[in-house]
Amino acid sequence: MNTRDNSWPDRLFEMLKRGGVRQVGYVPDAGHTRLIDRCCADDEIRDVALTTEEEGVALAAGAWLGGERAALLMQSSGVGNCVNMFSLARTCRFPLLMFITMRGEWEEFNPWQVPMGSIVDPVLKLCEAEVYRVHTPEEVAGAAERAVQQAFGGERIAAVILSQQLIGKKVWTK
């Protein structure tokens, strides 16, 4: 069966463009492959590959200081890498727009993904993020639009969490 709508990364990309995002920081991630490719191919977007996700929190703050909008793409494990750096966004009310792909929650083969994956939502909420959980392709555009508005309109942390059901399980044997 292959009726899954796999075009949802394009909805995220369209929302980044419509939201005027000019810098996109990311740590390479399978679930974000298409969105990263589209950002890299876009002349108006500066794609910034990071060594760790917390760099992207600081990058977004610097972008906003300079009058630009940034977004941060990561996998669920990256949330844990960001927790202290979120203090920068919280203390100074920097906009922080994040699109987070989930691991460790649905048909996960790798148990090492579970400890962080299982606490992503509460960790983000403790860090005062607005969290938008997405399970189906139909929900993606609406959630991303609200997150863009919340981040840049309200100068807040906003996270769209893309569930593993949406992304599909990682294929381990080919």
Binding site: R22, Q23, R46, V48, A49, L50, T51, T52, E54, E55, G56, V57, A58, L59, A60, A61, G62, A63, W64, L65, G66, G67, E68, A70, N84, M85, S87, L88, T91, C92, R93, F94
Partner: protein, 191 residues
Amino acid sequence: MRLERRAAMAVLLADRGDDLLVIPGLGSTAWDAAAAGDNDRNFYLWGAMGGAAMIGLGLALAQPKRRVAVITGDGEMLMGLGSLATIGIQRPRNLAVIVFDNGVYGETGMQPSHTQSGVDLIGVAGACGIGTCLDVRDEEALADLARRLKDLGETLFARVLIAAEEPPRVLPLRDGVALKERFRTAIGVKP
């Protein structure tokens, strides 16, 4: 020979011009920058350890016509060492990362940092692809760095060897929202 930190900061920020934007890293370099004269175009860090260079990168990319100087300590730089790799592949022409290296964590009681045991930040920056990497150990080299800072042609990294001392603290504004808003207003981005 090691330079005196307050005097070194004063040399770097003298006649800075309105187009120099400064990110002082948390701790002593923030006090040094405040002592050199408060400026709306300083975004002092009171936290976010390891993030100074990346804030500078985001700012430099957003403001390509202005110069950006991150001036931070060796401990702060060590916590964000990966950001030198990230900057090394972006290489904005208008970004300078300057590390005041005294080999100790001054704010927490002068415990030794990795640089005291031989970790070479200049070597790291060069290996990450940053084009100009300077070792500033005397007044002459400091004056040269100050001149280069006035007219950046490529991404620059400088290690400024300073003495481990604790001059009296000069504390800048610490309200993060106010620091952000006054910075953005000063450079004329949307209030």
